[in-house]
Point group: C2
Chain length 279, copies 2
């Protein structure tokens, strides 16, 4: 199978590695608007060749778009303009409602499958691409009923080759769920990192003590602005909603400490411990 990958970063590069290793991809064509990323992806062997968007669209059986989400509303309709009716376009964006709206009414809408392979690291670019990134993780297919059956089957084959588990959701539900499960974690991490970095200006030795707990909660603060600003822009309303709840919950701990109500604090810890069911 000939695969086209638009956007040769962590996600696109890791998909290329996984699809080649599984034998699913026999030839991988890459496109990236950053010539350095394109050259690096070729040098690392992530792709067999670099072509323009148009030539990739002409040559690949399945075209996977792994660029920042702000570019999807332009790139996905553009690719649907270019492809033949036997080809398939997938995206891998962390928001789904906007791209689904962008393709609504497009004559080739049914050749597009809106997907979100939920995997990543805090690193970015083609050098961050790794083998096995998606293995055992979850991929969300959104509004699957709007895609042709054979296009859906092709998308399923891609993610099964990457050893992902598939979940089906409506785009709007997906975007609310990821606000809770992913986007708010990033804001909490950014805020933790900023709080301690600010303190470091007075207490230069403070990071000597940074151990496993801090590393775990602040790890996501290394995440790339070029990826995340478009996500927060597109999912702003959901994130604001969840952020209000998070602030209210953190503020409860503040009130509890002010009142020295450690009985209530203990109740909240025991409630929070329930998360052990999940993670």
């Amino acid at each position: 199978m000939k695969i086209g990958v638009i956007g040769l970063g962590l996600i696109g590069g890791s998909m290329a590695i996984g699809l080649r290793e599984s034998g699913f991809a026999t030839h991988i064509i890459g496109t990236d608007q950053n010539p350095e990323h394109a050259a690096k992806a070729l040098e690392l062997g992530l792709v067999n060749e670099i072509l323009t968007l148009e030539k990739t669209a002409a040559a690949a059986d399945i075209i996977i778009v792994t660029t920042p989400v702000n570019t999807l509303n332009y790139l996905v309709p553009r690719l649907l303009d270019l492809i033949q009716p036997h080809q398939v376009v997938l995206d891998a964006g962390s928001t789904k409602h906007p791209v689904i709206e962008a393709v609504e009414g497009h004559p080739q809408r049914a050749r597009f499958v809106a997907t979100h392979p939920m995997a990543g690291t805090e690193y970015s670019g083609p050098t961050a691409a790794i083998s096995g990134l998606f293995r055992g993780k979850r991929c969300v297919f959104c509004n699957a009923e709007s895609s042709d059956m054979d296009a859906l089957q092709a998308a399923k084959a891609v993610y099964e080759a990457l050893e992902m588990n598939i979940t089906y959701l409506e785009g709007a539900d997906h975007d609310l769920h990821v606000a809770y499960i992913s986007h708010i974690s990033h804001i909490a991490s950014f805020a933790l990192a900023l709080t301690v970095l600010e303190k470091e200006k007075q207490e230069e030795r403070i990071f000597e003590l940074a151990g496993g707990g801090f590393s775990s909660t602040a790890r996501l603060a290394k995440s790339n602005a070029d990826t995340w600003i478009p996500i927060f822009t597109q999912n702003r309303d959901n994130v604001l909603d969840v952020l209000d709840e998070f602030i209210n919950t953190v503020s409860q701990f503040r009130t509890i400490l002010i009142k020295k109500d450690f009985k209530r604090f203990e109740e909240l810890i025991r409630l929070a411990n329930e998360i052990g069911r999940i993670i």
Copy 2:
């Protein structure tokens, strides 16, 4: 060397494993007020025998107190009452100022070394004890000038056997630093877990999407209330101080989202990325 361990949980048990494996401890005596924990520690081979506090204090060269911090203010002075002038008492508590105050003026004060080996997991009890927990991590010695030189040397030998790196701080400075580097991370994790668990009541499929990012930031929410309530009780003033700064920082993200000021959002992400220097 005969070692006494008071409190056979994650920390005490893991210290016992490390001190035996390194050859530092030739005989380990354990004490735990929970008879099940004591029996389990013996069964797991963490300790050679279980004795009372008094008999442990009589028999061990070095006595390490690894109980919740609310018990230290009683246990450490009590042990100093019991020991002979050649013996040494260490604690391993996550707060240091209160226990240092509790021993002030004690005739055997100089036989006590206030230490905080900064390592742990979100699990607790003797079955959570693991080999290598402390390796390469940092141990803080507080107010070292108040301890006898030979007691300090003994404490250093303990933590060197566990392959830890030692840092010296004043107790009050330590407590402020850990509020930033550890305690606030726990509150952020508890709050994240509670926010999503609350949402789960309406959206039962929300945890299907819980991936690596969420697991990383919410991992500490599994932490044990019996350990953490005494820590938050003792370090309440510092934690409140840091929590206010954290809430202000999170609220900045809220204001930015309300105003759609994504330029400022990007600046904050790039500032937060600085944490990559540290972790």
